[in-house]
């Protein structure tokens, strides 16, 4: 075996160690991968549902689900949209923060807070299948 082949073998071994047994190319994934990704998403949806029904986001015991059972009347498919009361086009998560601050009397979350992402994941899941209608009132 010459030096060159030895080097390649070492590199291949290193890749096996780093990347696991399967070496994925970007354009190749399996049913199993898809299932795994969906499971990851659903686990975050569950976190979002738990937050949606829990009093812990606010200070007065009120939960999002009290006014929005199954996240209904949140219309995620219409965001971003103009909220006349705020005078500008806002994202859904800004409206979630508005609700946390007003009816829930709580502190707003950072817009990239994993809890915010989880609540958005839940709201979108409950609204799945509805056509996008950005800006709609």
């Amino acid at each position: 075996m010459n030096r060159k082949y030895t080097l390649i073998a070492v590199l291949a071994a290193a890749m096996v160690v780093v990347g696991g047994l399967q070496i994925n190319r970007a354009d190749e994934f399996t049913e199993k991968d898809v299932q795994h990704w969906q499971d990851e998403y659903m686990s975050v949806v569950k976190v979002g549902r738990d937050l949606w029904t829990s009093p812990e986001l606010g200070t007065n015991g009120v939960a999002c689900a009290q006014c929005h059972p199954n996240a209904a009347n949140t219309h995620p498919e219409t965001y971003p949209k103009f909220q006349q009361q705020l005078g500008r086009v806002i994202a859904l998560r800004e409206m979630i923060n508005w609700c946390i601050q007003q009816p829930l009397e709580g502190k707003p979350l950072a817009l990239d807070d994993p809890r915010m992402v989880a609540m958005e994941a839940y709201v979108h899941w409950e609204r799945r299948g509805v056509a996008l209608a950005p800006g709609k009132h």
């Binding site: 029904t53 200070t59 689900a65 006014c67 059972p69 609204r127 299948g129």
Partner: protein, 360 residues
């Protein structure tokens, strides 16, 4: 409107302005005098679903408190005085003594006789025991001005769920309090009460108008949120013999109305918060009565939007509902003798509807 805290003084000033301007009482007085004076009519104020929610110590959720305080203050302005006042259930959020006491204290400011209906939020902590100490029996009836009034406890459910499934009343209440909680259980009147009702109605002249007050709809509209009564058909069958029967219900926090054979159905608003119409949850099937012209989509930026209370008149045995809506134009849904069903006075005609009444 600023979202700052409204002080008690501001609120009272608001109520005073309302009385001076006369918007609320005068529109309702006209209605009374518009009715046929030769026939006796009976009228009452109807307040419902206040969901008084305890935070800790002497603190309660301000928003829900304000809804009930406002409804009580406005109902007291009614001229002429109604014959009685109804409270339609869900006075409390989690059925605690603190919540029921606080709610009862606010209701005590009402002028006139008060009759109460049991809501699931009042019931599932201690099965209505403390509520009963404050407000009396869970189901009962009385006659007034020729009308037979019946109060049902329609939020009961299967015995196994109530008595065997949960390790504490607190847990049981928490499970039933979540409207969309899949661990909940469908509402029902139950066999015992249906027997009582059959007996209560026995011997009553079929010409006697019967008005039933329940918390759940005595119809099957949307099971996911318990806009539903499991034994609705059996209860409806007991009302079949009467020329004019009406069911007035809470729980749904929105305007609904329907006609099934001889029975009219009308819902009342919540003072606490509105609920979406079932069609806005697209993952489950619902059966909203086609007759219903929805209330406006709620604007959360107005705290009292899509909440309110009602003044109800029963004339010739038929119900007319005057909705007093805090942040919306008031609405009237009344029996139309020509079509034989309840109809909105303004919006029944499709051409007259407004954009916010479209729910999606």
């Amino acid at each position: 409107m600023s979202r700052g805290k409204v002080s008690r003084r501001d609120f009272l000033r608001g109520a005073g302005a309302l009385a001076a301007a006369g918007t609320l009482p005068i529109s309702m007085v006209e209605l009374t005098f518009g009715a046929d004076k030769d026939k006796e009519s009976v009228s009452f104020a109807y307040i419902s679903d206040s969901h008084i929610q305890h935070i800790e110590k002497s603190k309660f959720v301000r928003n829900w408190d304000r809804g009930l305080i406002r409804a009580v203050a406005e109902a007291n302005l009614l001229q002429p005085k109604p014959d009685f006042v109804m409270f339609g259930g869900d006075l409390a959020q989690l059925g605690t003594k603190e919540e029921l006491d606080h709610g009862a204290e606010m209701l005590a400011k009402l002028n006139g006789d008060l009759h109460c209906v049991m809501g699931e939020h009042d019931y599932y902590l201690d099965l209505g025991e403390y509520w009963s100490e404050l407000f009396g029996p869970h189901y009962y009836s009385w006659n007034q001005k020729g009308v037979h009034f019946v109060v049902l406890n329609s939020i009961l459910t299967y015995d196994e769920w109530t008595f065997d499934r949960w390790d504490s009343g607190v847990r049981r209440m928490a499970e039933m309090a979540g409207l969309d909680n899949p661990n909940g259980s469908p509402f029902m009147v139950g066999e015992k009460q249906r027997k009582w009702l059959a007996n209560d109605l026995k011997g009553l002249d079929p010409k006697t108008p019967v008005v039933v007050f329940s918390h759940s709809p005595i119809q099957k509209i949307f099971k996911n949120w318990n806009f539903w009564t499991e034994d609705a058909e059996q209860v409806q069958a007991l009302l079949k013999p009467f020329d004019a029967a009406s069911v007035i219900y809470g729980h749904v926090h929105q305007i609904q109305y329907n006609q099934i054979d001889n029975i009219s159905f009308n819902s009342v608003m919540a003072t606490a918060w509105p609920w979406p119409y079932p069609r806005s949850y697209v993952q489950a099937e619902s059966h909203m009565p086609k007759l219903t012209v929805p209330m406006n989509r709620a604007d959360p930026f107005h705290e009292r939007d899509a909440t309110g209370w009602q003044w109800i008149n029963v004339d010739s045995g038929r119900v007319s509902m005057s909705y007093s809506l805090s942040n919306n134009t008031d609405r009237v849904v009344a029996w139309n003798p020509k079509t034989g069903r309840p109809e909105d006075k303004v919006f029944q005609d499709k051409a007259g509807r407004i954009a916010p009444q479209t729910h999606y």
